[in-house]
């Protein structure tokens, strides 16, 4: 890629981030995702009212099973696949790609935008739910809440990067991502211990385990290993996305 100054590519990143945010936060999608993000909060209120007095019931039953296993992948799928996918589908991607900008800068800008909205929504949801339900448990409750907020943050970055790269390979990224989420993350990673090292959910739980003592059944990957694998995944998926975008072809059609 000759003749593109690093500075000129860096300079346009905020512009692309801003436009991507406007694309992602269309009214319908934003309302749907805000509603989804309130689910763990509503469950936390019910948990507090029910007076269960078992911190593990909340972390396993709501933070893990609902926030981490359902809310996070769903939000990441919707934002991650739409960051590029919707532009490729409607043809507006050409306005971005027919510019003298390094492809890495476009991928980075899209990632920043999609990760930011996913992370803010899911971490805020986990944080508020944790504050409501775990407040009576003092420092232990605060550690658990911090642990799951960190898990949501790490999971957001991993999932979004993965799904964004996927959207550059197939027009059916949404369907493939949902299938991956249900089959790989939902079913196989719970049943087969060997898959734990290849599961974003397990990376996130591993990170949570660094803040709060989770059962061995919940967190199968050690915190440092989880963080390392998460970083490797993000770097590889980003490099693959840049590689694919450099080879992006517009169909002829006529």
């Amino acid at each position: 890629m000759r003749g593109i100054a690093l500075n000129s590519s860096i300079a346009v990143i905020p512009e692309i981030v801003s436009v991507t945010l406007r694309q992602l936060l269309g009214r319908r999608r934003a309302i749907l995702l805000l509603l989804l993000a309130t689910v763990p909060i509503l469950l936390a209120i019910l948990f507090r009212l029910a007076d269960v007095h078992r911190i593990g019931a909340f972390t396993a039953g709501i933070m893990d099973a609902v926030a981490l296993t359902m809310l996070l992948p769903l939000v990441a799928i919707l934002f991650g696949t739409a960051a590029f996918g919707s532009e490729i589908d409607d043809g507006t991607a050409v306005y971005l790609l027919a510019k003298p900008i390094g492809r890495w800068a476009i991928v980075l800008a899209k990632l920043i935008a999609a990760v930011a909205v996913t992370l803010i929504l899911t971490v805020a949801s986990a944080g508020i739910a944790g504050a409501i339900a775990l407040q009576p448990y003092g420092e232990e409750g605060a550690e658990a809440a911090r642990g799951f907020m960190a898990a949501m943050a790490v999971g957001s970055v991993c999932y979004v990067t993965l799904f964004m790269a996927l959207s550059l390979f197939t027009r059916r990224a949404l369907v493939v991502a949902i299938a991956y989420w249900l089959i790989w993350e939902g079913l196989l990673s719970s049943l087969l211990a060997g898959i734990a090292n290849l599961s974003v959910r397990q990376y996130a739980l591993g990170v949570a385990g660094g803040f709060y003592k989770l059962s061995a059944n919940e967190a199968r990957v050690a915190p440092s290993t989880a963080l390392t694998l998460a970083i490797v995944l993000v770097v590889v998926a980003t490099v693959v996305a840049i590689w694919k975008l450099m080879r992006f072809e517009l169909p002829g059609g006529d």
Binding site: R2, G3, A11, I16
Partner: protein
């Protein structure tokens, strides 16, 4: 003018012979599996407006996407300003592309959209460049409205403004007049003519002959992926119009009209059918003048005059067969 039925070996069109051509294709081909979209095309273009004419599915968009660097040639060479545009984003400093698909970010105003293009081009005063480009396409009054509320023709003009905001040396436009009303078309054609006068190389595609007529003094005709003809528009137009035409006529007295028409050299066959006349002529324009006078002279009332092979596809087929 040159017309070819076989792959063109050398077809310089606009000003390409005087200096290094802005656009050059050397035996360029592009195929998808077994489907050949562009087949062994060679031509070169310099400053000026050139129309890329062909029926739907002829390979025009593939050709433009190859020139815009979004498709690599399967064989041959594609050069823009002396270098291959494929996988080289730096070439977009000198290229403006107006794609066929009409989608434009619907949540942006026209001005925001053009300014966004200017900023991505790294222009120092993006706002001024955007306002100037908007004025050039006549969208100033609507520049603060969301593009989602624009008519199809207005969206096309916004796309053109976005493509020329950085004053590119080469402007590629895919069916730019789609959705424009006649007044907007004329204004856009005039604008492209002005850009050409300033030394820009402009290539636009169209499947409508009349669109090319006004600005494209030079044209490339592409049919089924091959370059069927290239050169001066008027000469190719004459070829297209002065080919054998079949015309059917219904009148108050077909037999008397047949007698009047057969005497004219523009008519070389007349067939009297049960309820109509079938005429063959080699000069459509001359026949149009003839039929009015002949019917009046013979005191015959014309009920219907129809050309049975006027589709653009049949015109292109004819060119390919020559």
């Amino acid at each position: 003018m040159t017309t070819q039925t076989q792959p063109v070996t050398e077809a310089p069109v606009h000003g390409a012979t005087e200096a290094a051509p802005a656009i050059e294709l050397k035996h360029a081909a592009r195929w998808y599996g077994n489907v050949v979209a562009v087949n062994d095309i060679t031509f070169s273009l310099g400053p000026g407006v050139t129309g890329l004419l062909g029926p739907n599915g002829a390979g025009k968009t593939t050709l433009l996407h190859m020139l815009a660097g979004f498709l690599g040639p399967s064989a041959g060479e594609v050069l823009v300003l002396g270098r291959s545009p494929h996988r080289d984003p730096s070439v977009y400093r000198q290229i403006g592309l107006v794609p066929e698909r009409e989608a434009v970010y619907p949540f942006m105003t026209g001005l925001e959209y053009v300014r966004f293009n200017a900023r991505l081009q790294g222009m120092p005063d993006a706002d001024k460049a955007a306002r100037d480009a908007i004025a050039m396409v006549g969208l100033t009054d609507a520049q603060d409205r969301a593009v989602g509320t624009y008519s199809k023709g207005m969206r096309q003009r916004a796309k053109v403004a976005g493509a020329l905001v950085h004053d590119p040396q080469v402007l590629l436009l895919d069916e730019p007049f789609n959705g424009m009303d006649p007044r907007q078309r004329i204004a856009m054609m005039d604008l492209l003519g002005q850009l050409a006068d300033r030394g820009r190389t402009i290539l636009f595609s169209s499947h409508i002959l009349e669109e090319v007529e006004r600005i494209g003094t030079e044209i490339l005709v592409i049919v089924a992926g091959r370059l069927a003809a290239s050169g001066d528009f008027r000469a190719i137009r004459a070829l297209m119009t002065d080919r054998p035409h079949n015309i059917t006529i219904r009148s108050s007295d077909d037999r008397r009209l047949a007698t009047a028409l057969i005497a004219d050299p523009a008519v070389f066959a007349v067939e009297l059918q049960s309820d109509r006349l079938s005429i063959q002529t080699s000069h459509l324009s001359a026949f149009r003048r003839l039929i009015a006078g002949a019917s009046r002279k013979a005191d015959v009332r014309l009920l219907e005059v129809a050309s049975s092979d006027e589709s653009l596809e049949s015109v292109f087929d004819y060119l390919v067969r020559r």
